[in-house]
């Protein structure tokens, strides 16, 4: 698999119409797309289908790629969106085929989307430093921290900003 830094010029070439870059881009993107969809939807046929449609969409939209921006987050943003769409579609299909006697008002879909977002946030969190991760975990579980007052507030703010940046970098949106 190519590193993200290698992907940038490859996708730029493809966006400009260089067909020689097609196979390297395809190969460089398949693994991250497959892994992302597996993480978001769980291992299984759904994730596999979503990964395939995500990759097709990414390559279909290769002309739109703005080469001044990093390629991998752009591509993974499309893949994340595709996974969400796939999840909604699958849930709707299940609802209509199972025909449950009482509708849950879309609660199941919302729950799955929530899970998807949490998984994405956890993935983004993994890119942060151990100190930032600890601050965020302590904040979430409201456990006592070694520091308090203004220092703690500043640490939380910084960790949250970094988390937001990491999320944007990975998925292309807030």
């Amino acid at each position: 698999m190519s590193e993200p830094s290698e992907l940038d010029p490859l996708l730029k070439r493809l966006a400009q119409g260089d067909r020689d870059a097609f196979t390297p881009v395809f190969q460089a993107l398949w693994e991250p797309t497959r892994v992302l969809c597996a993480r978001l939807l769980g291992d299984g046929a759904d994730a596999s289908d979503a990964a395939q449609s995500a990759l097709l969409n990414i390559l279909q939209r290769a002309n739109e790629y703005d080469w001044r921006r990093p390629a991998l987050p752009w591509a993974m943003g499309i893949a994340t969106w595709e996974c969400r769409t796939h999840l909604k579609r699958t849930s709707r299909r299940r609802e209509s085929t199972d025909a449950p006697p009482e509708s849950d008002g879309g609660a199941a879909v919302e729950e799955q989307e929530q899970r998807l977002l949490i998984n994405s946030a956890l993935e983004a969190m993994k890119t942060l430093s151990a100190a930032d991760q600890q601050t965020l975990v302590e904040t979430y579980w409201e456990t006592a921290s070694q520091v308090s007052g203004a220092t703690l507030r500043k640490r939380r703010e910084r960790a949250l900003t970094r988390l937001r940046d990491a999320f944007r970098r990975l998925y292309g949106f807030d």
Binding site: L14, Q16, G17, D18, F22, T23, F26, W30, R34, A38, D43, A47, S48, A51, Q52, L55, L56, L59, Q60, R61, A62, N63
Partner: protein, 179 residues
């Protein structure tokens, strides 16, 4: 997931990529339709203008679809071709008479416009250090744009344009070949 046929997936993705590029190229070349419509409306020979306009549109779509250097030839080629087009359309308005014989200004306008277009294409290619793809693409676009107006007196007008264009292009071309 191991059972996924990646070769088939790649072929499908390639097909989608090409179709998307074609759609994008059609949209990119669409503004040319305004130039073609104007040239056909104002030209002396609407059918010839429409014929060259059709060729111009198809060529433009192919250039944009192919991409790389040749894609960059699209607008410089059209811009260069506007010079002989405008000159020839303007020349249609009047004519010159000498020794009891009258003729339109179409052929001189096409020759002069062709020289200017050739110089413009050569200068752009040299300045931007672009390869042969650009030279060929921009020349095609330029001549076809100009030909919509230069068809005013039939094939001789288009021939005058081509000769003028070649003359304008040749100094830089010779310089490039000799390096």
């Amino acid at each position: 997931m191991d059972s996924i046929d990646l070769t088939k997936l790649e072929a499908t993705a390639r097909g989608r990529y090409e179709r998307s590029r074609l759609r994008w190229s059609l949209a990119g070349a669409a503004p040319m339709l305004l130039v073609i419509a104007a040239a056909t409306w104002l030209g002396r020979q609407p059918s010839s203008s429409a014929f060259f306009g059709g060729l111009l549109f198809v060529t433009g779509v192919v250039l944009l679809w192919r991409g790389r250097d040749i894609r960059r030839a699209f607008w410089p080629g059209v811009l260069a071709g506007l010079l002989p087009l405008v000159l020839s359309l303007a020349a249609n308005a009047g004519h010159g008479c000498a020794m009891g014989h009258c003729s339109t200004w179409c052929i001189p306008a096409c020759s002069a416009g062709g020289v200017g277009a050739g110089l413009f294409v050569a200068a752009t290619a040299t300045k931007l250090k672009l390869g042969w793809d650009f030279w060929v693409g921009a020349s095609l676009m330029s001549v076809l744009t100009g030909a919509m107006g230069c068809a005013c007196v039939g094939a001789s007008g288009v021939l005058a344009l081509v000769v003028g264009f070649a003359l304008g292009l040749s100094p830089q071309l010779v310089f490039k070949l000799s390096r």
